[in-house]
Symmetry: C2
Subunit: 426 residues, 2 copies
């Protein structure tokens, strides 16, 4: 996935070592760059990092709400905005923030230059609005670093080398840019600056005693991201894991350390955190004949419509028929229902029910592997609160239960109290 330009890179590494510097990739999100004052604050932080003797590559998102404003303009001139021109439009957002940040850094006496995704050699496939990074040609970034510049790179965007068209990477794209750039440059660390302090044992807005984690393993972070912890998307964590890039998720508003995401986290507690997700809805197909091939046909139809399915549960068969339930993002519920209804005759199933008022609550922890009683305890805690479980799904280090949406706060609080008791709020 990452193109290794060995000659250029070897030369870079040599310079890098001769100067005894670390290479730090920092990523700042839209809130951190929300106005001129915040951009100046970010510039000061970048300059501090540079003056501490590090080479610095900064990946930026678009300022504050500017992406939403551009999308709003697009919907006013077009009934079906999207594709190539939408990507051309949206990439103006990072162009503005990166140029302003480069100016602000130069104003503090440190040389800096900004590069678009295309200029920074971020090559992608051709899927407008949701492109995947296929390679990074880092030679221009390396050249600028060798010249002593701080390099600002536009997040969220790249270029399709076939069509030479600009692409965007979709949700979490700027984080993905930062981690991929860190991998391509073999950076020492990738720092993700955000408006929260790090990764918590539960959402601190729900659980007063939730504690910031100092460290979490890639594997646990992948499960937390999948279970609804919004701080970093699974695609970026997976990328960091594959290339062994330590990621430090931290606040852009103060200097205190955040959460390190790395191969083996020191804290091997049974439960790392309680995550929840209210963005999904449940679809149930009733009275499905219990025969081979049924699931393949149902989920084949959903895949053909590009609908992401998260949990899938098939109930015990009764009298040769079974129910299949699955969850999808709420915004795709109507399409999912249509797709399921479309294959009903083919499945010889009885009907389709949907429920948009669900929540998923998950326990994540690498120590779970050696503690087989965790799931039973979880069901017991929920039962003691009279919270009904409608779906269950597990991995080696995660247990997720689907419950009623209006019980999610109580469930998260109860599970946190049980598994992570007596911790002080930060």
């Amino acid at each position: 996935m990452i193109e290794s330009r060995s000659a250029g890179h070897a030369q870079f590494e040599a310079t890098h070592i001769l100067r005894g510097m670390s290479l730090v990739v920092q990523k700042y999100g839209g809130t951190s760059l929300g106005d001129a004052d915040r951009i100046s604050n970010v510039a000061r932080r970048v300059v501090e990092t540079r003056k501490s003797g590090n080479d610095v590559v900064v990946v930026v998102s678009a300022m504050g709400q500017s992406t939403d404003e551009l999308i709003d303009l697009a919907t006013r001139v077009s009934s079906r905005p999207g594709g190539r021109e939408m990507d051309m439009l949206l990439t103006a957002g990072e162009r503005i923030s990166m140029a302003l940040l480069a100016m602000a850094i130069r104003d503090l006496g440190v040389e800096a230059a900004s590069l678009t995704g295309s200029q920074a050699g971020i090559l992608t496939d051709s899927v407008h609005g949701g492109a995947k990074i296929t390679a990074i040609r880092g030679d221009r970034v390396r050249q600028y670093l060798d010249e002593g510049l701080v390099v600002i790179v536009a997040g969220f965007q790249g270029v399709d080398p076939e069509s030479r068209d600009v692409t965007t990477l979709g949700r979490g794209g700027s984080d993905a840019t930062a981690v991929a750039m860190a991998a391509a440059l073999e950076a020492d660390v990738c720092e993700i600056y955000t408006d929260v302090d790090g990764v918590y044992t539960a959402d601190p807005r729900l659980v007063g005693t939730a504690r910031k984690l100092d460290e979490v393993s890639y594997e646990e972070m992948l499960e937390l991201a999948g279970a609804g912890a919004g701080v970093l998307m699974a695609r970026s964590v997976e990328f960091a894991r594959r290339f062994g890039i330590p990621v430090h998720v931290r606040s852009s508003f103060h200097d205190r350390p955040g959460t390190w995401i790395k191969e083996d986290a020191m804290e091997q507690t049974v439960i790392t955190g309680v995550a929840h997700d209210t963005s999904e809805a449940k679809v149930t197909v009733h009275g499905v004949p219990d025969q081979p091939g049924i699931a393949a046909r149902l989920f084949g139809a959903l895949a053909a419509d590009d609908i992401d399915v998260d949990m899938i549960v098939q109930n015990v068969s009764t009298e040769g028929h079974t129910d299949i339930s699955f969850t999808v993002p709420k915004e795709h519920l109507d399409e999912a229902r249509s797709a399921a209804e479309g294959v009903l005759p083919d499945l010889e199933a009885k009907g389709v029910d949907v429920d948009p008022t669900i929540a998923k609550v998950s326990l994540v922890g690498a120590g779970m592997r050696n503690h087989p009683g965790v799931a039973a305890d979880m069901f017991k805690v929920l039962s003691e609160h009279s919270i009904n479980i409608s779906m269950i799904s597990t991995s080696a280090i995660r247990i997720s239960c689907v419950i009623d949406a209006d019980r999610v706060e109580e469930a998260v609080q109860a599970l946190h109290d049980y598994y992570l008791p007596g911790e002080e709020a930060v």
Copy 2:
């Protein structure tokens, strides 16, 4: 200046002729693209042109005041914004307008694609903020036209092929892009859409009887532009003249014809129009020894400071000394005074006076060549209104007088009444 890629171009020409189409380059300014509704209006006009059987290339400026807003942001993060990063920032403006226009055109059922200056092959020198176009590699534009697309090109911007950095073309840059693109593609016409109806015999805000000109020659338009007629800058007119591109300056708010700028205008009246310019200030160096090389040293010093000098007048020598007066843009008056004062000892001159309250009023007309009495009449008209002339400068088809700024409206009205009498206001 324009790179002719003969093979590619020949192929394009062949397609072009086979389809029996004309190639029209249209340029829309920021006011014409000021909001979503106006962008949709421009899209309708482009689609009409396309459906009339023309190939269409559209050059756009940034929306409304967006460039000023970006400059404002830059001044808030940097005490000295400019250079590479300012160009990176400002080029976001056209990126937004071109993508929105492409979407709006596609929404009307016509295929369209937008290209940045760099993607459209607009190569420039390396002068950030005021780059000159050095070549246009039109192959990507031609390819898209051959595929039947309307092509939207970002005005005002290009790329320096040496550094691969994005550049901007400075004032009037979008018009220059349109005319240069028309030249490179050998377009049949370059239409400049603006918020005025065309070129007038005088500023219609000052002179109620001012009349829109149907045609004006390149040569006259060059003089009018230099004399303060703001509708099209001299750099674009000169470009059109050199490559023989007919330019049609017209309103984006209605369909009536505007003013055609071309080689030989049909209307060979003595006086084409009365132009005025209140953007300049006057500098006078007193008591200069009347010796060779003095002017060279003075204006060499001004050129070294990048100060544009417009009119230069040297008075008759009295007792071996003379006065040299010149005009400069008001915003460069302080620098011009400093530069002149800096060479005073070297010139052995007596002092420097400045006057920011001047105006330049000019008569322009190709017929002037055969009517030697025009200048004398002009001085007489001004004299009859007791308007004092402090500087005079002439070309073959223009006479300009510097007068007091507070008399400019009266002077323009009087000259228009005398030379272009009895015309109805449009």
